[in-house]
Symmetry: C2
DNA sequence: GTCTATACAGGGATAGAC
DNA sequence: GTCTATCCCTGTATAGAC
């Protein structure tokens, strides 16, 4: 399977194509999405799509990697906003959980494409899948672990293994929401998202809450 | 979308068709799977398949419901084995988590079809989806909650809300494994499954462990 | 010289006809 | 149980337009 896209043509067209591919792949899934529909969504001719990307699979893998990098960056910003200068740990952990769920599971380009990628995992070449994991979920988990380590140094958390704490926080908050919505395929009420995040954070703090967080 | 299958024809043929459909839908996913492949796998003619099921979608939804009921029953048996007469709570919770993950995420008929269903969630009519949830994940969660309530009465667990405890146990043990394997699409080493389950149970017991479980 | 528009070849799918 | 009508998709080719 080829994994690189061509480089010819105008860059603004290329951007329109990748953007359209995210929308259509996200909406229809890989198999159902047609190159005709992507070309139409991008407002370019199909020939132009094939001028930039060798074939359907190359286009898909390309936008998958791009999407995972963008999403990691977005989550990084959310961590900077909520976890860099923590004053109310519980509230900040809840807010971060809610906003992360919104970002990752949004019906918009990010969440929908992520679902399409997960559905195709068995058909993605392993080197590309590893690159996707590394640029996406693994990178975010590392970022979160680093923040938890900093919080532990302030006595707000007690963690032997910050990576493990990051995974448990993610399971208890994010995955509860992801499962309920089938990774964004079905809508979940906002109050429900907040409720799951709050309950999850409380459970997390029972495991890893530090002395400085009590009282 | 039709949701009922026809009733004509020999029952053993019908069973061969549903079995084959689980295998092929599980292996290929809904869109890629062809009715030809299902007929061949079942060892019947395609006409026979259409004689029992109106169309591809009807067949898929039918086996989805059947699969979820079977899986719920299997998990029920696992609970009876590990959670009915608990002597070593931690060990039994770990064993149940490992066996449940094996059952649900198995590469065989059960896990693979579950992945196909999850990938198609957005295209499944909501009444069928609700029936699937009710016969599957929701039923299992209720069963688990009932067991946790019994364990709480023995002082082995402390739970205000047994349903919540069941969900947190599931998140901390099962979903950690499900996520790592993309719901069974990728293999996960047996030791890794045991490790995740053990760490998850320890975290769960920090939240909900009762006085009778300590020492 | 890249883009649009369109048409076309080749393959495979569903669903129904015989 | 085979055979086939009809449709759709991928990827290429052939025109002309800015």
């Amino acid at each position: 399977m080829a994994t690189t896209g061509g480089a010819a043509g105008r860059p603004e067209k290329r951007k329109a194509i990748t953007q359209a591919a995210m929308v259509v792949f996200g909406r229809e899934g890989y198999v159902r999405a047609s190159m005709d529909a992507i070309a139409a969504e991008a407002g370019v001719s199909k020939r132009t799509v094939y001028n930039h990307f060798a074939d359907k699979e190359t286009l898909f893998l390309s936008v998958a990697l791009q999407n995972s990098a963008e999403l990691t960056e977005k989550i990084r910003e959310l961590m900077a906003k909520y976890l860099d200068r923590v004053v109310d740990l519980r509230q900040d952990l809840v807010d971060f959980a809610v906003e992360r769920a919104r970002a990752v599971l949004s019906a918009g380009e990010h969440g929908a494409l992520g679902r399409a990628i997960r559905a195709e995992v068995a058909n993605i070449p392993s080197d590309v899948l590893e690159a996707w994991l590394e640029a996406g979920p693994i990178a975010s988990m590392r970022d979160l672990a680093a923040h938890f380590e900093a919080l532990a140094e302030r006595g707000l958390l007690v963690v032997e293994d910050a990576g493990l704490a990051a995974e448990q926080y993610t399971l208890l908050t994010f995955h509860g929401i992801a499962e309920r919505s089938f990774w964004g395929a079905l809508p979940v009420a906002d109050e429900e998202v907040v409720r799951i995040a709050t309950v999850g954070v409380d459970a997390f703090l029972r495991i890893h809450g530090g002395p400085a967080a009590r009282g």
